[in-house]
Symmetry: C2
Subunit: 326 residues, 2 copies
Amino acid sequence: MKGLTLDEHAAPGVVRLALDLPAPARPAGEALVRVRLAGICDTDLQLAKGYMGYRGVLGHEFVGEVLACDSASWRGKRVVADINAGCGDCDDCRSSDGHHCEKRTVLGIVARSGALAEQLAVPERCLVELPDSVSDEQAVFAEPLAAALHVGHGTALGVHSRVAVLGDGKLGLLVVISLAALGVQPILIGRHTEKMRLVAALCRQTLLEPGLADGDVQACDVVIECTGNAEGIRRAIGLTKPRGMLVLKTTVAGATSVDLSPVVVNEIQILGSRCGNMREAVAALAGGLDPTVLIAARYPLRQGEQAFAHAATRGTLKVLVDPLAG
Amino acid sequence: MKGLTLDEHAAPGVVRLALDLPAPARPAGEALVRVRLAGICDTDLQLAKGYMGYRGVLGHEFVGEVLACDSASWRGKRVVADINAGCGDCDDCRSSDGHHCEKRTVLGIVARSGALAEQLAVPERCLVELPDSVSDEQAVFAEPLAAALHVGHGTALGVHSRVAVLGDGKLGLLVVISLAALGVQPILIGRHTEKMRLVAALCRQTLLEPGLADGDVQACDVVIECTGNAEGIRRAIGLTKPRGMLVLKTTVAGATSVDLSPVVVNEIQILGSRCGNMREAVAALAGGLDPTVLIAARYPLRQGEQAFAHAATRGTLKVLVDPLAG
């Protein structure tokens, strides 16, 4: 089968379309899934640059249909899946969601072949069924949407909260869309007028960053950092009210130079936030949440390398890859 | 009167004993307090190096007696005081403790003359009366003890929590003593066997840092960072369990280079924690908590410059300054 891979010999940032991959093995308890549509995420771009040292088929955003599995009830179902495959046996797997299982594999990120391919294997317990009302184009957003909705967990977000989202990339815009679903109208701070326009109706205010001084924005109860750069983290700390909360949604690979003294002086709470609950995302999609405005382009899998290069172009929103189109 | 001051012309790190300061003015609503005993804190050492740009009489740890005030009930009382003097009128002052009032002055730190002197003025609403059972030597620890006890606020500390304290300086040891009062036996990680020995009986374990590898310590539910250096913050992040909490108790002046990606990947919560509740500290002292084991030396105020130099010597615990001894 075809698949978009990172191999040992690849130059940093370069992926290769393999044409002759073996079909995935299906261990007991796992489902073989035919990919209907997959998305390229900024994490994929970082993985291609060497983050996590991953090698193999990329991709963790997908919608597919079950070709084979142990439980007859799943066969033929249209599904998305939690990308974290925990061991099922540790404290975290038993008492929580396995997202912090020390033995977990993660789809297309840690020791598990990803979704930018014709087929993949996923543990049955990770599968979430899609209702017919949710299109493939919506469903392919389920994973990043779950991560975006996850900002509502552990934070004191209320309809009266003053909330800022930093960054108008894919994740920042998806967080704005998610906040709207939670009844919160954020201030969005970004660098691209045309991207902010896509979600402006959901925002209390959109502010263009170059030229924005710290004093121009009133401090916020909750600040959600989605820029993934050191400057964003610095601004986010400055923008958080005393005893307010700063949610870090994006990883900045490597060391960042930050002045942490305002965190202590202002008694700010910083919350690292990663993956969310896929059922919650599917329920939100079924309830009418529509992230498809974020689609920038769609390529057949055979043009996967071009798709990846397009996604890596600065400022590009969601690039989809369609294995069914060949 | 005599007072230990930072003046415009002082070289970095150098304080001067002024012999001819005017007695403090006493605005309406404030109490004139004679200092019985004062302590030197690491923040004082940092202020002397230029932190916050403070100029004037240093000192914010003290016990004293009220010489004059508007309310007759306070006269002659032995007191400690909240060092944060809020405006009394803003949201933070009305609904909380004024510790984040934007107009606050802070004793010996922000626009308010400090306690390393014979007398000082303090708002009456900041005063906390001392019971006779609490000695001056205990009471002079009330302010840092309040800050140490403050780690119990907003954190999920339980008797079964696995807790680590990083740093065996004054604050680290005081945090260990405070945790004991909360029923928690922490792991203490420090660099000085003789200092850790002072509180070893309160610890589950003490670990000497040079040579300690990250893998040598099992991850903790709560990690309390009291080293005030970048290496401590790095270790603290690595030592915090997924979905655990890291409490930052000390400010690291200036930018620190930190890899924040584990905060996101492990969904760690970082809580900045500053001043505490003075009533809580006095109640703990009255209940038998005894931090006097941390006293390293006691100087008369007339030897204040020597006291400061001693406190600035690496590894020194609490240095007290006694204005009554002249």
